[in-house]
Amino acid sequence: MTESVHIHLRINGEVRSLQVETKRTLLEVLRQDLLLTGTKRGCNQGVCGACSILVDGHSIRSCLSLAVAMQDRDIVTIEGLSDGARLDRVQQAFLDAGAIQCGFCMPGMIITAKALLDRNPRPSTEEIRHALGNNICRCSGYVKVIDAVHRAATT
């Protein structure tokens, strides 16, 4: 049988107490236990980036992270970027650039773009392509996604 432990996770500014099996990923816990379903599962092997979240300001793959290893870390999911009424400037830029099609990759894409802009406020096109290189979008061809990040950098 798998071991189960009690943990505290700090997510979007709130501390959540949970009983979780040690083998479970943060992605599973976010989606199934906390119903934070904005974080998506595209491949479950760390390739597509749809499950990207911010951990201490870095974009990481929640499908490759064990929930028990995330205690005492500052976790931000797509739901934590805005209350829905007023958007984060990165979210607004993705809307304004027309970058969003099916939207399934977008929570991860926006999170990764946010992490980039937090450490590099005015990235070049090459830096944006590099930073988003492991977030797969099957709809857009990336042009408008890159436009969105430029737009966010200048607003």
Partner: protein
């Protein structure tokens, strides 16, 4: 014009199927076959059934064994009697959680007797090939029965007399082309939540699909229920590209839910999705084209083999469309094309963006290039000389109403500075540069659509069509059309979510049809509502309808006056409470396909009617080839599309850029690979699709607008045609760079190096 639903998607609030949770919900999992071709000897599911938490274990033995399919009724819900590919669903479990369901799958014991398998389409047609569908000649469906147990369908078109015309040709080119099994790789794997209410005898399905009505019809048929007991709802869809057309895993989810009497969520893992769903048809095409010295195309013959895998799915349609587009967007008076859609022991193939045209157009455009090489003609000049123009007939005899390929070619020629760019030489040692061009045509339309538009009590409006936005932006575009007719802002229009209980019928999203076909229904329904609004206003303002005009913001006014006007809200209230009754605009129509003209085109086998209006596009691509590795990088691209009218230019650009990049994936990297029937790259780690580093930022969409006579505000559908352009332009650019043809895609480093040696 931002997308209507973009805010929900950007904040994570948009619920896709797997995000929905119901009380008492169970989790489904599916066991795939371990054999490419085998007879099922026995099942033992007792250990799985005994596992705590397991509620249902289903196998083909427990279902009715009936076969189903859109074109050919050849497919069971779960394998019955035989398995025909590795990964074919053979058993399904519903349990209290996903981990328990997966554990239960491991406890299912199925005994097989292995049969010889065949994986190549031409090999499968040989008389001594192992029979995959022994019952083929007894199968029902739209495609007539055939004697050969491995032939799903055959289509042939003939115009003029190609055999006799070869002697008139000064130059003849001939080659064989191969295209791969591309995977749709929508980011959201297939998912269905099925809930069965035993007391009410009602099945409700939330699913990631291109069409709620197609699923409703299929589920009712597959499970033997009346459609009135099946309700299908489309939440947000995480991409589709053809892969979520027809049925996906809905029948299995529904069968589990009915057996369990509880909701069952069946969400595929990426690996399940890649091994159990479908791909684009791999093809092998033998083609021969001849021209006169001045570049006039004279004759073409082609034989097309499509590998449809274990089940036909939409293969016979794809096969027929490939034939219809095998001439390309050109005048070639003598043509003969035959195509075979063949069963093999691979994953099934079905519709994918382009629907047979990317395969046929790849071969065709490489042949045009080869003729230009031989005659020393500029490739754009050769294409322009032979391009279909307005008034010409497409292959099959259907009219070309907007023959604008020449405009598209000219637009990309100018934008790319073609002549100067072609003349340029390598920028750095070890790299070669090349510039290539392609043309393409596609259709837009297909089948029926309805729309209603309801004037609400507060003067706002609700549009309902049943059309599913799979990400391309149709919720926004269809709302814009209604807003355009009624002169109101978009925030006054609600687009109702597709739901078979409430929406008018709509065929699925596909065939580049939603903006055009559903758009016509929305435009007409909006006009119908407008006419009712004006009738009321004329009585209220005591003037004739002709004296009235719609004013921005939902107002009706008397022409030439500033004050004599009424808001929609007053009209809505009068209609609701005083006279006339609720205002509801309705419209329905179906694209009435022309039959092929038998005096012009001889057809044989399965040849459906012409399906829509034609549109044209052209692409120029610049590539850089690494001499040491053969790896090809796309440097820049210019694409011109005549979309009739861009209702939402940003969305059109997104379709062009996204479609091209999927096509660049097909051209350079994407290919499902099998080893003895086993898919060796069924993950996103091993099957790569283009990322932001793999494609250039410099992809320039050029939108041309020759308004479609029959389209809503002049629009045509743009969803598929960009993909038809990509692979041939890339390979023509590679040829320009290295002086050799690459006739098999994807043009991987290895294939390009081989061509160079």
């Amino acid at each position: 014009m931002p997308r209507r639903e973009a805010r929900a998607k950007a904040t994570g609030a948009a619920a896709y199927t797997d995000d929905i949770v119901l009380p008492r919900m169970l989790y489904g999992a599916v066991l795939g076959s371990d054999y490419a071709h085998a007879r099922i000897r026995s099942y033992n599911t007792s250990a799985a059934e005994a596992l705590p938490g397991v509620k249902v274990v289903l196998t083909g033995e427990k279902l009715d064994g009936k076969l189903h399919g859109k074109c050919i009724e050849d497919e069971p819900i779960l394998a019955t009697g035989k398995v025909r590919y590795i990964g074919e669903p053979v058993a399904a479990v519903a349990a209290i959680d996903y981990a328990t369901a997966k554990r239960a799958l491991q406890l299912i014991d199925i005994q097989y007797e292995e049969l010889p398998a065949v994986f190549d389409a031409e090999a499968a047609l040989a008389s001594d090939a192992p029979p995959i569908h022994e019952e083929r000649k007894r199968y029902g469906g739209r495609v007539p029965p055939l004697e050969n147990p491995n032939l799903a369908s055959y289509t042939a078109f003939k115009e003029g007399d190609a055999e006799a015309a070869w002697s008139q040709c000064d130059v003849i080119v001939e080659d064989t082309y191969e295209t791969p099994a591309q995977q749709h790789m929508y980011l959201e794997p297939c998912s269905t939540l099925a809930a069965f209410d035993r007391a009410a005898d009602q099945l409700t399905i939330w699913t990631s699909t291109q069409g709620v009505f197609i699923v409703q019809y299929a589920i009712a048929k597959w499970l033997g229920m009346p459609m009135s007991k099946v309700r299908v709802i489309a939440p947000y869809i995480g991409g589709a590209f053809g892969g979520k057309g027809g049925v996906t895993n809905q029948p299995i989810a529904a069968a589990l839910a009915i057996a369990a009497g509880a909701p069952v969520k069946l969400t595929y893992s990426r690996e399940d999705d890649m091994t159990m769903m479908k791909s684009r048809h791999p093809s092998r095409i033998y083609m021969r084209t001849g021209a006169r010295r001045d570049g006039t195309l004279v004759a073409r013959e082609a034989r097309i083999y499509l590998n449809t895998g274990a089940y036909a799915d939409e293969g016979p349609f794809v096969n027929a469309i490939a034939v219809g587009f095998s001439r390309g967007p050109y005048r070639i008076p003598n043509i003969k094309t035959e195509a075979w859609c063949v069963y093999t022991n691979h994953l099934k193939a079905g519709g994918m963006r382009g629907f047979g045209v990317p395969q046929a157009n790849y071969a065709s455009e490489l042949q045009i290039e080869a003729i230009a090489d031989k005659l020393g003609l500029d490739p754009i000049e050769l294409r322009t000389r032979n391009a279909l123009v307005t008034g010409d007939k497409f292959l099959g005899g259907q009219n070309v109403d907007h023959g604008t390929l020449i405009n598209c070619l000219e637009a990309v020629r100018r934008a790319s500075d073609w002549e100067a760019r072609r003349a340029r030489r390598p920028v750095q040692p070890g790299k070669r540069r090349g510039v290539g061009v392609s043309s393409a045509a596609h259709v837009s339309a297909m089948n029926g659509a309805g729309a209603t538009i309801k004037l609400n009590e507060d003067g706002s409006l609700t549009v309902n069509t049943g059309a599913v936005d799979v990400g391309q932006g149709s919720d926004t575009v269809l709302s814009q059309l209604a807003a355009g007719v009624l002169g109101v802002s978009l925030d006054k229009i609600k687009y109702a979510a597709p739901d078979t209980d409430f929406s008018p019928y709509n065929h699925q999203t596909g065939g580049s049809r939603t903006t055009y076909t559903v758009g016509v229904a929305v435009e007409r329904a909006s006009e119908h509502a407008r006419d009712q609004i004006l009738e009321h206003a004329s009585e209220m303002l005591e003037c004739s309808v002709e004296e009235l005009e719609l004013r921005p913001g939902g107002l009706v006014g008397v022409k030439g006056t500033a004050t004599r006007e009424l808001p929609f809200v007053s009209i809505a209230k009068r209609a609701l409470y005083a006279t006339g009754g609720p205002i509801m605009g309705t419209a329905n129509w179906v694209y009435e396909a022309e039959r092929f003209d038998p005096k012009r085109t001889l057809t044989a086998g399965f040849a459906p009617n012409a399906v829509g209006v034609f549109l044209f596009a052209a692409l120029i691509v610049e590539v850089e080839v690494d001499e040491a590795t053969g790896k090809v990088a796309i440097v820049e691209a210019w694409a011109a599309h005549d979309v009739g009218r861009a209702i939402n230019p940003g969305a059109v650009e997104g379709q062009i850029q996204g479609g091209l990049v999927q096509g660049f994936g097909l051209a350079l990297i994407e290919e499902l690979l099998w080893d003895d029937g086993r898919l060796v790259n069924p993950t996103m780690m091993d099957y790569k699709v283009p990322g932001a580093m793999d494609v250039p930022y410099e992809i320039h969409p050029i939108i041309l607008e020759d308004p479609e006579r029959t389209g809503p505000f002049g629009a045509r559908g743009i969803g598929e045609i960009p993909l038809n352009l990509a692979a041939p332009a890339v390979c023509n650019a590679i040829e320009h760079a290295i002086g050799r043809k690459v006739t098999t895609i994807p043009a991987t480093g290895e294939r390009v190096l081989r061509a160079m040696i």
